[in-house]
C-alpha cells in the first residue's frame, strides 16, 4: 500500500477531490493570514519597542478599525459555508443513493474488528438475532430466514466494485467505533443501536485500509481491515467464490451456543 505520504493520501473516491480542495483552500488561507499577521506583528514589536525619550502614543482612532480584519474573515467564512461546505456536505453526508441503484453493504463493527455483510443474489439482508451470536456467526445471522441463507459475511475484508455507488449501513455490536478509509476521505461513527447510512463511490482500483478511528477499548489500534476496490468482473468473481463457502441452509434447531 503505497497510498500514504507526508501529505494527504491518494484520492480513491468521487468526493475525495472535493474534500481535498477544501483542505487546500483553507490551509492556503490560513497560511496567508498567519504570514500577514506575523509580518505586521513583528513590525509592531520592533517599531514600538521601548526607547528613551519616546513616550507611548495613545491611539485615538476608533474601534471600528479593529473590526476590519473581522469583516474579512467573516466574508471568507460565509463564502466557504455557502459555496463549499453546505453543498458538499449535502452531497456527501445528507443525500444517500437509492438502495435500488447502489450496492448495499452492511458493516458491523465490534471489539476489535469489522464484519462486512453482502445481501447475496436476493438483494435482501436476512434476520439477525443477538442470541445467535457466536464466534463462528459474528452477526448472529439466522440462517433459517430465507433472506439470510445467501448473505455473505466476511471479516475485516471489504471488496467493492470500482465506479459503483456503494451504500454502507454502519452498525456496531458493542461500543462506538468509526469507519475510516483515508483514501476515500470517508469517516463515520458506528453507533450501537443505530443504522448509520453512508455512501462512497470508489473510482480507483487498489488496496486500502479501513481503520477504526474512535477509541473502542484496549485493542483499538489493532482494529483494522482491508478494502479492495476491484473491477466489476473481479468483484463478481470474488463474491461468487465467497458465496460457495456459505453453509448449507441448516434446520431450525441448529445455531446458537
Amino acid at each position: 500500500m503505497n497510498n500514504y505520504g507526508w501529505g494527504l493520501p491518494i484520492q480513491a473516491s468521487t468526493f475525495a477531490g472535493q474534500i481535498d480542495s477544501g483542505l487546500w483552500i483553507i490551509h492556503a488561507a490560513m497560511i496567508g493570514i498567519f504570514v500577514l499577521w506575523g509580518i505586521f506583528f513583528t513590525y509592531l514589536l520592533v517599531k514600538y519597542r521601548r526607547r528613551d525619550g519616546v513616550p507611548a502614543r495613545r491611539d485615538e482612532h476608533g474601534e471600528i478599525a479593529s473590526l476590519i480584519p473581522d469583516l474579512l474573515v467573516m466574508v471568507f467564512e460565509v463564502g466557504l459555508i455557502v459555496f463549499y461546505a453546505l453543498p458538499t456536505w449535502r452531497s456527501v453526508k445528507m443525500t444517500m443513493p437509492d438502495a435500488k441503484d447502489a450496492l448495499v453493504v452492511e458493516v458491523t463493527a465490534e471489539q476489535f474488528g469489522w464484519n462486512i455483510r453482502y445481501p447475496g443474489p436476493d438483494g435482501k439482508f436476512g434476520r439477525t438475532k443477538p442470541e445467535l451470536v457466536h464466534f463462528s456467526n459474528p452477526l448472529g445471522l439466522d440462517r433459517t430466514d430465507p433472506a439470510a441463507a445467501d448473505d455473505i459475511v466476511v471479516s475485516n475484508e471489504m471488496h467493492l466494485p470500482v465506479d459503483t455507488k456503494v451504500l454502507i449501513k454502519l452498525r456496531s455490536k458493542d461500543v462506538v467505533h468509526d469507519l475510516f478509509v483515508p483514501e476515500f476521505r470517508l469517516k463515520q461513527d458506528a453507533m450501537p443501536g443505530m443504522d448509520t447510512p453512508m455512501w462512497v463511490e470508489p473510482n480507483r482500483i487498489g488496496h486500502y485500509e479501513m481503520a477504526c478511528a474512535q477509541l473502542c477499548g484496549f485493542g483499538h489500534s489493532l482494529m483494522r481491515g482491508d478494502v479492495y476496490v476491484e473491477s466489476r468482473t473481479d468483484f463478481e468473481k470474488w463474491l461468487k467464490a465467497r458465496a460457495a463457502l456459505n453453509p448449507a441452509p441448516p434446520s431450525a434447531t441448529s445455531g446458537g451456543f
Binding site: I19, R49, P55, R58, K173, M194, H220
Partner: protein, 575 residues
C-alpha cells in the same frame, strides 16, 4: 459573617491560617500550588504516553520495571494502561489543572483585589470549593492504584465503552465532586463581582481580567450541571445497571449485555459536549484576560478597543453554548443539524478574532517593555492564533470528515490550550508574583524558561498537524499497527523528544518560583507601575486587603495620559 467572627481577635492557628483558611488570598495560592502539581502529574502521564507512541513495544526506560505487571508487563506498556493514561491526561490537565489554575487560582487571588473588595462574597463557601476540589483531584489520581485502575475511555467517556470499562466509576464520582466545587466557585465569583465592587468601579471600568472571569463563571455555572446530570446517569448505568446510554441487544466480546436496553449513547455525547465545548472557552477566556492586563501594562497605553473586547467576551460566552455539536459532525447525529452547528461555529470565530485583533492593535503606538510576563503574553498572540486558525478546517463540516479523530485535532487543541492558556497563565504568574510575595521572580531564569518552553511546545505540536493531514489517527496505543500511520511515525519521535525538552525547561521555573518566594529581589508596592486596583494595596496584601475601601475615578488602563508627570494614572488617584 456569624459567630466565628468573634474569634478573629486573637491569632489564628496555623491550621486556620494556611490550611482551612477562608482568606481568598490563601485559597488562591492553595489553588495555584495544587493545580500546578496536577499539571505536573498530567505532564508525567503524557511523557509515558509519548514514549509508547514514539517507541511502541519498547520497555519504558528507567521506571518501566516499577509498574505492576498488569499495567506494564516487563516494562512494556499495555493497551489498557495506555488508554488509562490518555483518559487521565485529558481529565487532569483540563479539569484539575488549567481550569482551577485559570479560573480559581488567579480568580481567587486577583479578582477581589482588582475590584477593591475585602474578600470574596462567601469566604466559607470559597474554602469549601477548594476542599471539594482537592479530594476530587486526589481521588482521580488515586484511581490508578484502586482495583479496576483508572478510567480508560478517554476524557470524553463515550458510552457504551465507558459503561463497560473498568475504572470509570471512580472517575464519575470524582467528576461529580469536582463539578460541585466548580459550581460553588462560579456562584462566588459572580456574586462577588456583581455586588462587591468598590465605589466608582462601574462595569465599564472593570479590568478585562475581571470580565473574563465573570464570563467564565457564567459558563461554568450553566454548562457544568448538564454534565453533572449526565455523569449521574452514567453512574446509574454502571452501579444500578440502568440503560440510559445502553441500546438494546449489545453483544460485548461475545457476551450479551444484561441490561434492559433502550438507551441512547448519542445523548451522552450531546450532554458531554454541551459542557466540554464551553469548557474550552473557560480555559481560554481567563488567559485572554491575563494577556490583556499584561499588554496594557507593558505597552504603557490603554488597550485598543476595550469595549470591543468586553462585548466580544460576552458574545463568546453566549455563543459557546450554541456550538457544542461541532464535535459530533460524524457521530451519527442527524446530518442536517450539522449545518446549524457549522454556522454557529463560524459565528463564534468572529468575536474571538475581534479580541485577538484588538490585542495586536494595542501594541501599535506603545512603548513596549520586554519583561518576562510580556514575553509570555506576546507569545500567546501568534501561537494562540495558530490554534484558532487550525480550528477552521475542524469546524467546517466537510473537511472535518477527514480530519476528525486524527492528530490534527490533537495539534489544534494543544495549540489552543498549551501555547494559549498555559503560556498566558505563566505570564500571569510572573506578572502577579510580586503581588503575592512582595518579591520578584528572577528575570534570567524567566527568559530561559520562556524560550525553552515556547520552542519545545511548537516542536511538539507542529508535527502533530502534519501527521493529522497525512491521516494518522489519534488515541492509538500502537500507531504502527495501522498501515496509514506508518510513514509519519518518525514525527511521533520528534514530538516525544521535544516533550522531554519541554519537561527539562520547566525546572528553572519551578526553582525560580520557590527560590524567589523567599529569596527573590524585594519589590515596591507597585513594581510594574500599573493602574489597576490590586496594585493599590500592600504586597502581599494583609487580611482584609485594603486599609480603607478604595474609591475608583477612572477606567482600568489610563497609561500615558497627556499632561501628566508619570505615564500611569492609577484608578484610585483622585487628581
Amino acid at each position: 459573617m456569624s459567630s466565628d467572627h468573634g474569634h478573629d481577635a486573637h491569632e489564628l492557628s496555623f491550621l486556620r491560617k494556611y490550611v482551612f483558611s477562608v482568606d481568598h488570598k490563601v485559597i488562591g495560592l492553595q489553588y495555584l500550588i495544587t493545580s500546578f502539581v496536577f499539571l505536573l502529574a498530567g505532564f508525567a502521564l503524557m511523557m509515558l504516553m509519548r514514549w509508547q507512541l514514539a517507541f511502541p513495544g519498547r520497555a519504558i526506560p528507567l521506571i518501566g520495571p516499577m509498574f505492576s505487571p498488569d499495567l506494564a508487563p516487563n516494562g512494556v506498556m499495555s493497551g489498557e494502561f495506555y488508554n488509562a493514561l490518555g483518559a487521565m491526561h485529558g481529565t487532569i490537565m483540563i479539569f484539575l489543572g488549567i481550569v482551577p489554575l485559570g479560573v480559581a487560582a488567579f480568580g481567587n487571588y486577583v479578582l477581589p483585589l482588582q475590584i477593591g473588595a475585602p474578600d470574596m462574597a462567601f469566604p466559607r463557601l470559597n474554602m469549601m470549593s477548594y476542599w471539594l476540589y482537592l479530594p476530587a483531584g486526589t481521588l482521580m489520581l488515586l484511581s490508578f492504584f484502586l482495583p479496576g485502575g483508572a478510567a480508560q475511555s478517554g476524557w470524553t467517556s463515550y458510552p457504551p465503552l465507558s459503561v463497560i470499562n473498568p475504572g470509570q466509576t471512580v472517575w464519575l464520582l470524582a467528576m461529580v465532586l469536582l463539578i460541585t466545587s466548580s459550581l460553588l466557585g462560579a456562584i462566588n465569583f459572580l456574586v462577588t463581582s456583581i455586588n462587591m465592587r468598590a465605589p466608582g468601579l462601574t462595569l465599564m471600568r472593570l479590568p478585562v481580567f475581571v470580565w473574563s472571569e465573570m464570563v467564565a463563571s457564567v459558563i461554568l455555572l450553566l454548562a457544568f450541571p448538564p454534565l453533572e446530570a449526565a455523569a449521574i446517569l452514567q453512574l446509574m448505568d454502571r452501579v444500578a445497571h440502568t440503560s440510559f446510554y445502553m441500546p438494546k441487544d449489545l453483544v460485548i466480546l461475545g457476551q450479551r449485555y444484561a441490561g434492559s436496553g433502550g438507551g441512547q449513547p448519542l445523548l451522552w455525547q450531546h450532554l458531554f459536549w454541551f459542557l466540554a465545548h464551553p469548557e474550552v472557552y473557560v480555559l481560554v477566556l481567563p488567559a485572554m484576560g491575563i494577556v490583556a492586563e499584561i499588554i496594557a501594562n507593558n505597552t504603557r497605553k490603554p488597550l485598543h478597543g476595550y469595549k470591543t473586547i468586553v462585548f466580544s467576551m460576552l458574545g463568546v460566552g453566549v455563543m459557546s453554548f450554541l456550538v457544542w455539536a461541532h464535535h459530533m459532525f460524524i457521530s451519527g447525529m442527524t446530518p442536517a443539524l450539522s449545518n446549524f452547528f457549522l454556522v454557529t461555529t463560524m459565528i463564534i470565530s468572529v468575536p474571538s478574532v475581534a479580541i485577538l485583533t484588538c490585542l495586536i492593535f494595542s501594541l501599535q503606538g506603545g512603548s513596549i517593555r520586554y519583561n518576562v510576563p510580556m514575553l509570555f503574553a506576546l507569545a500567546f498572540l501568534p501561537l494562540f492564533g495558530i490554534g484558532g486558525l487550525t480550528g477552521l478546517p475542524l469546524g467546517l463540516t466537510v473537511t472535518d470528515i477527514y480530519l476528525h479523530d486524527t492528530y490534527y485535532v490533537i495539534g489544534h487543541f494543544h495549540f489552543v490550550v498549551v501555547t494559549g492558556s498555559i503560556i498566558a497563565l505563566f505570564a500571569g504568574v510572573y506578572h502577579w508574583f510580586p503581588k503575592w510575595f512582595g518579591r520578584k521572580m528572577n528575570d534570567r531564569l524567566g527568559v530561559i524558561h520562556f524560550w525553552g518552553s515556547v520552542v519545545s511546545m511548537v516542536g511538539i505540536f507542529t508535527p502533530m498537524m502534519i501527521m493529522g493531514l497525512a491521516g494518522a489517527s489519534r488515541r492509538l496505543y500502537d500507531p504502527t499497527a495501522q498501515v496509514h500511520n506508518l510513514i509519519v511515525q518518525p514525527l511521533n519521535v520528534v514530538s516525544t523528544y521535544f516533550a522531554a525538552v519541554l519537561g527539562v525547561f520547566q525546572l528553572p521555573f519551578i526553582w525560580n518560583f520557590f527560590h524567589s518566594m523567599f529569596r527573590g529581589e524585594k519589590t515596591p508596592e507597585n513594581p510594574w507601575q500599573a493602574t489597576t486596583l490590586e496594585w493599590a494595596c500592600p504586597s502581599p496584601p494583609p487580611h482584609g486587603n485594603f486599609a480603607k475601601t478604595p474609591r475608583v475615578y477612572r477606567g482600568p488602563y489610563e497609561y500615558s495620559a497627556p499632561g501628566r508627570a508619570t505615564d500611569f494614572w492609577p484608578q484610585t488617584d483622585p487628581s
